[in-house]
């Protein structure tokens, strides 16, 4: 991904790779951890865990509904359970199983959806989860994590598996810039302030965090100081940081690799409306499906670049100035 290169961010591993590495490490420490797969372990990166712990790994075939149900049963019987597939198939195919067998009974199941967003590229819209955040956040009792880079994905994986209850972790296919260094402070439900600013706040998640940092750098050239928040936890949202951003900076832009309906922006807008209304703009996928193409081409065509964030920022600054 191009985002972040011009501000000196180094390319790191894909978040799915970081997740897979952490999972295996955690598996060595936690013998109660089991993994359920829908025959995509080489894509989701649960493969390494499967090789090392075959007796704790279940490939139930290409059957997401059953995958989620089996995960629920294992969890109810006392196991720490992680169930992984493509985000689109897991959330969309097994939505009711997640509702009924995981969310409602508050089963200790960690769902991991890989291949999120349009940045998967050439495989096209059938494989692209652009609704998954809306679906996952719709469940009562759920925690939803969308980490921005490899380091924070590992932190999120560890933090999630230390907790009981239902989680959804969203990972991506492409390599993304490294934003964090090992040992940084990751707390579920607490946004990370990556840049201070007084003119507006850009609230982003996933690979849009690097784009937000790049946009903030561009805006600085024009004398606009943007605060940047990495909102890695979409549910529960860090309401305190959002309200503070509105009060301190008076304008908000959200950025996400997801449909605008039901995503990060929609959640932030509700918090803003309920606490301290200020002008807002939303960067995300408009009400449409994408297409096949190179990841970078798709991000540009569908409006998910630093440039798009900068334009949105300039718009809210104008609104703010009335």
């Amino acid at each position: 991904m191009n985002a972040g290169k011009q501000i000196g961010l180094k390319e790191g591993p894909a978040t799915r790779d970081a997740f897979g590495k952490s999972l295996t490490e955690i598996g060595r420490q936690n013998s109660n951890l089991v993994v359920v797969d829908g025959d995509v372990s080489n894509s989701t990166r649960t493969e390494e865990f499967a090789k090392e712990f075959p007796e704790r790994f279940f490939n139930v075939g290409i059957a997401e509904s059953n995958l989620v149900g089996v995960a629920s049963g294992l969890a109810t019987a006392g196991k720490d359970v992680l169930a992984a597939s493509f985000a689109a198939f897991l959330l969309c195919n097994a939505y009711d199983q997640i509702r009924m067998s995981v969310a409602f009974p508050q089963a200790n199941v960690k769902l991991v959806g890989s291949h999120s967003g349009i940045s998967i590229g050439e495989d096209g819209p059938s494989q692209m989860a652009i609704e998954d955040i809306a679906l996952a956040t719709s469940f009562p009792n759920f925690t939803v994590l969308v980490p921005a880079d490899a380091t924070s994905t590992q932190a999120a994986t560890r933090a999630m598996l230390e907790q009981k209850g239902p989680f959804y972790l969203r990972t991506g296919r492409p390599k993304v810039p490294l934003i964090y260094e090992e040992g940084f402070d990751f707390q579920i439900g607490k946004a990370n302030k990556l840049r201070e600013g007084s003119d507006l706040t850009i609230i982003a998640c996933g690979l849009m965090v690097a784009a937000a940092l790049e946009a903030a750098s561009d805006l600085e050239q024009k004398g606009i100081n943007a605060r940047v928040l990495d909102m890695h936890t979409i549910k529960p949202l860090d309401m305190e940081s959002i309200e503070l951003a509105a009060r301190d900076t008076g304008a908000i832009v959200t950025a996400e690799e997801h449909l605008l309906a039901g995503g990060l922006g929609a959640g932030v807008a509700r918090v803003i409306a309920e606490t301290y209304p200020v002008p807002m703009a939303f960067v995300g996928i408009q009400d449409r499906y994408a297409e096949s193409g190179k990841p970078q081409e798709l991000l540009e065509k569908y409006g998910l670049t630093a440039g798009h964030i900068r334009l949105a920022a300039e718009q809210v600054i104008r609104q703010k100035q009335g």
Binding site: A63, S65, G69, V70, D96, R99, F104
Partner: protein, 296 residues
């Protein structure tokens, strides 16, 4: 591995066939009582299943301790056809998982006896069900957990014949056979009717049902689900099956052949409680069917 029978409840001791009949008769009456009182619920779908539930919980089949519902070594029963909740509730009350005085609160605001089973609020309920098709997968998860943890418990899952329309049932069926979970027994409450009509019309291609399960790799038995002796004997027999999950196809009557349910011949009064008048007729017929009388 031998299970530690810590304070195992007395109901884990087998009852005679005659005693099981008495329990079944009493619980059948209770199913009608609580649904008629609630003015809603699924009595006919509960009555078709009740003899099987009685055999499981009181016929020396399942080992459990109702004073410790979370005992890790307990056998599990999952009612995948969650609308049969009244049958499950009267059984769990009989097994002392909760006070039978709660039964009349069925479907009332604030009661743990919700319209469909909610494991978060009622002891003894092993899975929250009601969205059809999901219980067999959950049961498979429990069965696999027993293997991972080196425990000896068995898992029983009851599914409906209408419920077998759901694709997830067959996903779970394939996966269970793959993992050769011989500690998983499925019970098909084959009462022949679903919500809008006979299974033979709504989904004729469910048949031949026994052949399908055999083709999916299961050990299959076909029995009369109202013949207590046969139900108990078959449940004991399948405990010895190696390397295969087992399906017991239980031929049952939706509404247990009671005339108030037979009147509505489209679906055997699916999801419709009996009126007070109809309940009286049903009670009399139950007394005659079981050769018992005197109510509770």
């Amino acid at each position: 591995m031998e299970r530690q029978f810590m304070n195992a409840h007395k109901t884990t001791k087998p009852r005679s066939i005659d005693e099981l009949q008495t329990i079944s008769w009493r619980l059948s009456r209770q199913i009608i009582e609580i649904t008629t009182k609630a003015g809603s619920g699924h009595p006919s779908s509960s009555l078709s299943a009740i003899d099987i539930l009685v055999a499981l919980y009181f016929g020396g089949i399942m080992t459990y301790d109702s004073s410790q519902p979370a005992w890790p070594d307990r056998d599990r029963f999952i009612l995948s056809k969650g609308h049969g909740a009244p049958g499950l509730y009267v059984t769990l009350a009989e097994a002392s998982f909760f006070d039978p005085k709660l039964l009349p609160t069925f479907r009332k605001l604030g009661s743990p006896l919700e319209g469909h089973p909610n494991m978060r609020v009622l002891p003894g309920v092993e899975a929250s069900t009601g969205s059809l098709g999901q219980g067999l997968s959950i049961g498979l998860g429990h069965a696999l957990a027993a293997r991972v943890d080196g425990r000896n418990y068995r898992v029983y899952v009851m599914i409906g014949d209408g419920e077998a329309d759901e694709g997830q049932i067959w996903e779970a069926s394939m996966a269970a056979a793959k993992y050769k979970v011989n500690n998983l027994t499925a019970l098909l409450d084959h009462n022949k009717f679903q919500q809008t009509g006979p299974v033979s019309q709504v989904m004729p291609s469910l048949f031949p049902v026994a052949d399908k399960w055999r083709a999916f790799g299961w050990f299959v038995e076909e029995i009369n689900g109202h013949n207590m002796e046969e139900v108990v004997a078959t449940l004991k027999k399948v405990q010895n099956i190696k390397d295969q999950p087992q399906m017991i196809i239980c031929h049952t009557l939706k509404g247990k052949g009671l005339s108030p349910f037979e009147k509505d011949d489209v679906n055997r009064k699916h999801g419709v409680p009996l009126t007070e008048e109809e309940a009286k007729i049903a009670f009399a017929e139950l007394d005659k069917q079981y050769g018992r009388s005197g109510g509770d």
